[in-house]
Amino acid sequence: MVQFFQQLINGVSIGSVYSLMAVGYSLVYSIMNFSNFAHGGVIMVGSYIGFYLLTSAKVPFPAALLGAAAGAGVLAIIVERIAYSPLRHRSAPFLYFIISAMGASMFIENFVVATIGPTFKTYPAVFSRWPIEIGPFYIGRIDVLIFVSAAMCLLGLVYFIDRTKLGKAVQATSFNHRAASLMGVNTGFVITLVFAIGGLLAGIAGVLFGMKYTVYPQMGAITIKSFIAAVFGGLGSLPGAVIGSLLLGIIETLVSGYFSSQYRDLISFTLLIAVLIFRPIGLMGKVTEEKA
């Protein structure tokens, strides 16, 4: 039983990182209706920025986290401007967006390989590696940090979307582009904003992920997990993305803990396929005609 709860704690920790990635990804999907495969590259660059701010610039940790978030946000906007904006103005089919995103992802990843190098980098120990003991359970300090930061970011996002005027604009654009723009919403600005938010969250996720594991150019591939999580919870739905991520994180750690870590990814993909077949709108997706 103790082992089960221990796995649960690990699962929530990794699930929180997934949720930061999945929310940014889902947010973009809800506005643009395409899968932003370049998201992984943005996460990776955020992770590198955080790494260099901590090691070379030696700034305190919160500043590094903010710096990484800002850098990743700017990168996300640049990607949108260069790779998607021209397609958007031509109202190209979603297929072209995906290919363009693939190109952007390939560019970013290999640019980092070419300039920084393909080696793995380990974050400096910002916190003590000694876990916190609560009764029979051990909780890593890093896991606490991950959970708290993810929760704060997500609560902030919910407040922004639900309570502010700009958030309403985002909701309106997601609901119906044309109607929103007829009502005076600057949809172009909303799209930039959504990419910026996705990028900010990606940067934070990158730093947290890098601290828990390592930093390397291919780490963007982890977004495939956030992608599964987003589909699991329902593409385009933010609460769905969070719940899907947490469930996926928990399922993954339980599978690795009780069976074998070799089957972990297989289970994730099986889950993805099962969801797509039996309930393509996910746990709490919005129903539209295009889906199934």
Partner: protein, 290 residues
Amino acid sequence: MEWFYVKGILIQSGINLTAVLGLSLLTGFTGLFSFGHAGFMAVGGYAAVFAGMRLGLPYPLALLFGGLVAGIVSLPIGRLTLNLKGDYFCIATLGFGEAIRLILDNVQTFGGARGWPGIPVTTDLFNVAVVAIIGTFVMVRLVNSRHGRNMIAVREEELAARTVGIDAFKYKMLSLFISAMYAGVAGGLQGYYLGFLQPKMFSITKSTEFTIMVIFGGIGSITGTVFGTLLLTALPEVLRAFAIWRLVVYGAAVIFIMISRPEGLMGGKELSLAALRRLFGPRPKREVPS
């Protein structure tokens, strides 16, 4: 440049072309976007090598067997996913492709993640050329047939196609089956060319690469597919002098094509003798309206 090196590139181009032709039918002519074709290639590759080494089938039959198994595997997958639309179909194929790779990673009879070494190297330039030429010829005949036109109708407007009595689901299934067969044959060629198979070879990167080749050549054009594949297989080799920068250039090129010429190299047109004659021959006299 050494002939051995050039020959290697040509063989790899032929193998890629076989796989990409199939994907071109699915993406270019039926409008379905697959990110899991490397999975079918893996199934075909392992099946062909199994048929050749364990069942003792001769090489051409082993390749066909590989293609057939890949096609059969695609049937239940198609049954389950072809009703999904747009992104969702794409994500589902991605899931299946990765699942196939992960299953092969864990099946120890075929060597698991370490791969299957010691396959007799049988694929040479002649074999590949024969397969690629037959493949191209069959594909050209297919897309110009009634069935090919029905697939194009499904791509253009599924609802309208259904209204005029085209069984859209059947044609999507047929298209997926044939394209999986092509990928399977290509997988067999690949295994018998390299002398070993490894699940890692058939990751999502491979599927993406194939899709990019189809798009680069131009949706809905077989000539485009052929040129696109040959060019994009050779491009990284030409750029090898830049070594680490070549994939950066490749990524930038893909974005550039999407934003500047999304219709691809051929833009849905075919290169044929008649088209060349129209392009270079004497201009037809314009009729002067009286």
